[in-house]
Amino acid sequence: MADKEATVYVVDLGASMGDCHNGRDESDLDFGMRYVWDKISTTVAASRKTWTLGFVGLNTDETNNTQDEEGLEGYHNISTLQEIGPMTMTELRELHPKVKPCEAYSGDALSAIVVAITMIEEFTKKLKFKRRIILVTNGESPIDDEDDSITDVAEKLNEHNIELVIIGVDFDDPEYGFKEEDKSRAKRQNEETLRKLVEACENGVFGTMQQAVEELSIPRIKPVRPFKAYDGPLTLGDPNKYESAISINVERYFKTKRATPPSATTVVVNPDRGYTQSQAFDDGDVEMGGTEFSNVKHMRKYKVNDPSAPGGKLDVPYEELAKGYLYGRTVVPFSDSDMAITKYETTKSFTIIGFIPFDSYSPFLNMGETGLIAAKKFDEKSEIGLSALIHALHELESYAVARYVQKDGAQVQILLLKPNPGIEDEYECLYDVPLPFAEDVRSYQFPPLDKVLTVSGNVLKEHRLLPNQDLKEAMSDFVDAMDLSGFDVDEDGNPVDYAPIDEVYNPVIHRLNQAIRTRAVHPDGEIGPPPEILLRFSKPPEKLIKKARPDIEALIDAAELKKVPEKAKGRFKEAVKPLSGLDIDAILGQKKRTVISPENAIPEFKQALATAEDDETVEKAVKQMGEIIRKLITNSFADVFYPRAAENLRVLREELIGLDLPLLYNKFLRALKKSLLSGELNGDRREMWFKYIIGGQLGLVTKEESEMSDVTEEDAKAFVKK
């Protein structure tokens, strides 16, 4: 896995490689380099010092290799373009322009392989390395096809334990199903020679570029070395106290661990270079490459409230701070020595609490990743002991529930242990998943799904919210028709599992990796759409849909769904009534609220709008609300009234959108912004603007939000930015 690697790429750069063949609109070289760049950039991405590579050009106009320098014959038009070494972006950038078609056409591929062998030999010496040579050619230039030469090279490869991969552009591959029509005689012969060579190698691969390029889109999964999370006894009973207690030595590994996509770093254009760069490129667009960026550093500053300090906040140096916890809003400082006692003292242990039957457990209780528990190696007692437990659990269809402390001081976890008796695969083991504690369960109440309870306490079994018999049957037929197991068969007619886990790749990880590699190699190129394979399982298979079509239609008919029109969402208001159905508006109507009091502003504002009969009343209410908001801000000591002002503003915004009067809101907000930033409202009120209004997404109402608005998304963004 983390083995050392030395790979030399031998790429034919001959004149014919610059031409397009077989209806492709890219040259043979570009076509082949798709494969090579992908491989090289994968190595770059890994940034491992021990993964090294070199690059040899075949049919280069110049000749530059050690064999030739030593005066050996037949090594002309072969150049070492990069010596073996670790690969970083710098090397990649240097190598990139060197890979271009040349005029030459008489370099010998076999000789180039020898050059590569020598490079590997010198670099790796006798050390443990994974050695590999990858040759990419279209086989148009002459190759020494004497049997002796082939045998010599093959022997040398075998002697140094080098794997030889030859990938030919338009080489025939009956297994893959590719055959080039009208192949030139020379090419046919060269293909034959190379095939012979590969066959003579102990470790050789011969393939056609079509297949290699096609396989590029199949995501490669980063192998991870197994990590032993626990190594110790699994007990039943307490061996320290009871003689009867049993103890089995086990090892615990991760079976699943969520792989994460590469994370982005915040960078900034370097001050010195950034300056010259923006001079050089008028549009300010910085060229790809790393050196013009540097990582943004984060400095933390600490402040405490202090009414006597300017702005009410006092800067405090980090050194003067103690650590602590919050208990509610009370700050509880702890000295470093006292800190330890806030942690529950635990000792490493793994002990079974009890057992439960399979069917009393629901998988959605899983709280996280799966572990795998096996007996300690070379410990016969534990091996058969654990085996007996696994089989007993399996036969009784039971799980064990265990208390797990990974190491001294670690938090307690409760794990569910599931027996895997090794019937479907080869290994006997226990799998474990974490279970929730009491604190992890939030008791949310939902109405039942199979009956409707009325306010008066009646139970209804027939209701518009409940499926009738037709719908139930249609659903049942639909679910059965859409069954994935066995709808598809392999070549032998055996049902295959659809979307098994090992074929479902994380789209985000592979999409991002592929884009980064593409960008690294072709700084100016497009990143292209995501490969089809990543979206394969985002939709039901067409074949299945076709098969289930009648059942789908029947279900659609039985469901009688109606889409809620866009317009009605949120705007549509029915008079709200308490449980009794009492008409509050009628009571309110008798004493209309036209003056809005600051302390009960929101209800009174809403009620004023609800009962308003003309625009004038609305405008009056809006004006009052606006005054209240401004007053709250003006009278706010530091930020105490900001939340209230923001909430009033939010209600104002929501109501005006509902009334199709966004212009009123936008007008008010423009004026408010000016007042806030100019200090007109009794001092520095920028926090209100930035944290509460922008942060609270209370900006201008856009066209998207309300058709009556004349503000575009961009306008709204620009308004917020300055």
Binding site: P219, M482, P507
Partner: protein
């Protein structure tokens, strides 16, 4: 916290899926308990001599509930507020200092705990009142004249308006035994109704916890039906949350009854996403909401404390971004880039967007499988609960219900592509039902009935672990272990998380509480996750001892046989002992290596069909038979051969 600081931003790389749906209102909850202090509420129950009988007056029970609620809130919802308003008291108190109004504004309303994130002092004050019955201020004295309910409601209104102005969830818990506070006063009733409507418009939800006394039911129709509104969400789903009356009896104390009713409302129902299109099939979409009823609760992180002032004070941190020359940089100057080969690879904003775009938020079924087809190890993350909503498609609920019933009945799961929010990472999920079709059969009574989105691992998430295939020699051991397993079932044969509080969490907050209240540090506490060792020994001690003895012997035999084998097997492939209930062949060993005796045994046990097609072909090939045909044909061929030849 100052603007520009990034306290609200998550550290880079942290799982974006965990961020709750961002609503422009702060997703915080404020609960104000309003407890009726009347003479009937204060009446202690008769002493019946029964130990299990009620000892608490309704007020005491209510205060105990509030106390428990407060402690739980500090642990589970450290940013949420609560307060306690007593009404019908002789004394009146609103806020003394800054609030402006004196107690006279709301006669017979006593704000016992200000609506805020609870402080240690609040906990202590409440505990003194509850546990030690210390009522030095004589707040628990009922007033002589009746309290005016509209006043109580407006008082609550003001408390919410000022203290929790922009909280996403604000709830008033009214605990009372008086179902008709304004018997013959129509005007008082109307003005209470108006104040209740104010609260509704303000966004405050009133939750009523009626206390009923023996022989006297609490009649909502008399007064409270004018006060209480339906939860709009529940209304859309067509069913109101029941108002549950608390009472003692049926073996339940008033306290327990009240606690269970209040606990069910402890956390406001926050949705993780709403109005998400759920595509059952092309052309068939319903709308759903998502919730997270399961969420790992961890102790809060440490904070920095400034001790230089009069009081220990929380230091607020602010981050400043700097470049390599320690110049402060503005947010607009920064770019997102990826490290690659020692340098940065940068994408344009537009490209970053397109990289994350896998086609919009949706839950789309791609088909169904039997639940047993999900490998038992396929777990990576907690599940999300979904429930139908009528906001996008009218009729969603009945379709959802039909699906739920079908999945329960056929033990199937839906396999679906799931993108929770715009630009969220897509995941594959199995859609599983919870609850039960019968009245009482749910295995998870503490969780709601509905559907769960169970995240499936990607190929990238699966680790290969090379463990040696283990020998399986001792059937007797497994038999004996069965007896042990069968005798150590958890209570009710189920894992009920509610029985297992997290000991690390409980300890942490116990210590914090003691330090905050300057009390003695507790020495130990009850850890309910520790197995009942004594019981284990008592119940199966004998069996365990026998098992151990047997194990000793079997292990010894295995060591011996391995030693012998090592000598013998220098050239030969190691042949592992056959396992019970398992076809003798392994993929690795290759079906072709099955001995005739093994084949015969498998044939007689009828386990040949467990061989895979590849293994079958191997076996057939090794016997010189044709390997063409479907699995059934291959099996038949092999069985025939065994019958004839072995």
């Amino acid at each position: 916290m100052a603007w520009g600081g990034d306290e609200d931003q998550r550290p880079e790389g942290e799982d974006e899926d965990e961020i709750d749906e961002t609503d422009y209102k702060t997703q915080k909850d404020a609960v104000l308990f309003a407890i009726d202090i009347s003479s009937s509420m204060l009446l202690a129950p008769d002493d019946t001599g029964n130990k299990k009988a009620d000892k608490d007056s309704a007020v005491t029970a209510a205060l105990k509930c509030a106390y428990q609620f407060m402690q739980q809130r500090i642990i589970a919802q450290p940013k949420d507020m609560m307060g306690i308003l007593l009404f019908g008291t002789e004394k009146s108190r609103f806020r003394d200092e800054t609030g402006g109004r004196s107690g006279t504004g709301y006669p017979h309303c006593y704000l016992f705990t200000e609506l805020d994130i609870p402080a240690a002092e609040d906990v202590r004050k409440l505990r003194e009142l509850v546990e030690e019955g210390e009522d030095a201020d004589e707040v628990l004295v009922p007033s002589k004249e009746p309290v005016i309910m509209s006043n109580v409601l407006f008082c609550a209104n003001q408390i919410f308006t000022t203290n929790a102005a922009n909280f996403g969830s604000r709830r008033l818990f009214i605990i009372t035994d008086n179902d008709d506070p304004h018997k013959n006063d129509k005007a008082a009733k109307s003005s209470a109704a108006v104040r209740a409507k104010d609260l509704y418009d303000l966004g405050v939800v009133i939750e009523l916890f009626p206390v009923s006394r023996a022989g006297k039911a609490f009649d909502l129709a008399k007064f409270y039906d004018d006060i209480v509104y339906r939860d709009p969400a529940a209304e859309a789903a067509g069913a109101a949350d029941e108002v549950k009356t608390s009472k003692s009896g049926d073996g339940l104390t008033l306290l327990n009854s009240l606690i269970s009713n209040i606990n069910s409302k402890q956390t406001p129902k926050r949705s993780y996403f709403s109005n998400l299109p759920f595509e059952l099939a092309p052309g068939l979409t319903i709308s759903i909401k998502g919730y997270m009823p399961l969420h790992r609760q961890a102790p809060a992180r440490t904070c920095y404390v400034y001790l230089g002032g009069e009081q220990a004070q929380l230091a607020q941190s602010e981050t400043v971004k700097m470049d390599s020359e320690t110049r402060t940089v503005e947010k607009s100057e920064t770019k997102k880039a990826y490290k690659f080969g020692g340098e940065y690879i940068k994408f344009e904003e537009k490209e970053v967007k397109s990289l994350k775009d896998f086609g919009g938020r949706v839950l789309r079924i791609i088909g169904f499988k039997s639940q047993s087809r999900i490998p038992m190890w396929a777990s990576v993350k907690k599940s999300t609960f979904i429930f139908p909503s009528e906001e996008g498609y009218v009729g969603s609920t009945r379709v959802f219900s039909a699906l739920w019933q079908k999945l329960l009945k056929s033990k199937k799961v839906g396999i679906a592509w799931f993108v929770a929010r715009t630009n969220a990472n897509p995941v594959m999920v199995a859609i599983m039902p919870s609850g039960s079709l019968s009245e009482d059969g749910s295995d998870t009574p503490y969780l709601p009935a509905g559907l769960w989105l169970y995240p499936l691992p990607f190929a990238d998430d699966v680790r290969t672990v090379d463990i040696a295939a283990k020998p399986r020699t001792a059937d007797e051991l497994a038999d004996k272990m069965r007896e042990i397993v069968a005798n150590l079932q958890l209570p009710k044969a189920v894992y009920n998380p509610l029985k297992y509080p997290n000991p690390s969490l409980q300890w942490h907050y116990k210590i914090l509480q003691a330090s905050a209240l300057e009390e003695e540090t507790p020495q130990d506490h009850e850890d309910l996750t520790i197995p009942k060792y004594r019981q284990i020994d008592k119940r199966v001690g004998g069996a365990l001892a026998e098992w151990k003895e047997e194990l000793e012997q079997k292990a010894h035999e295995l060591v011996q046989s391995r030693a012998v084998k090592r000598e013998m097997d220098i050239d030969e492939d190691e042949e592992r002992p056959a396992k019970r209930s398992k076809p003798a062949a392994k993929k690795a060993a290759g079906g072709g290596q099955m001995s005739n005796a093994q084949l015969k045994a498998a044939f007689e046990k009828n386990t040949l069909k467990k061989l895979t097609v590849a293994e079958l072909k191997d076996v057939l090939a090794s016997k010189g038979l044709s390997t063409v045909g479907k699995k059934a044909d291959l099996l038949e061929k092999l069985e025939q051969w065994i019958e004839e030849n072995v």
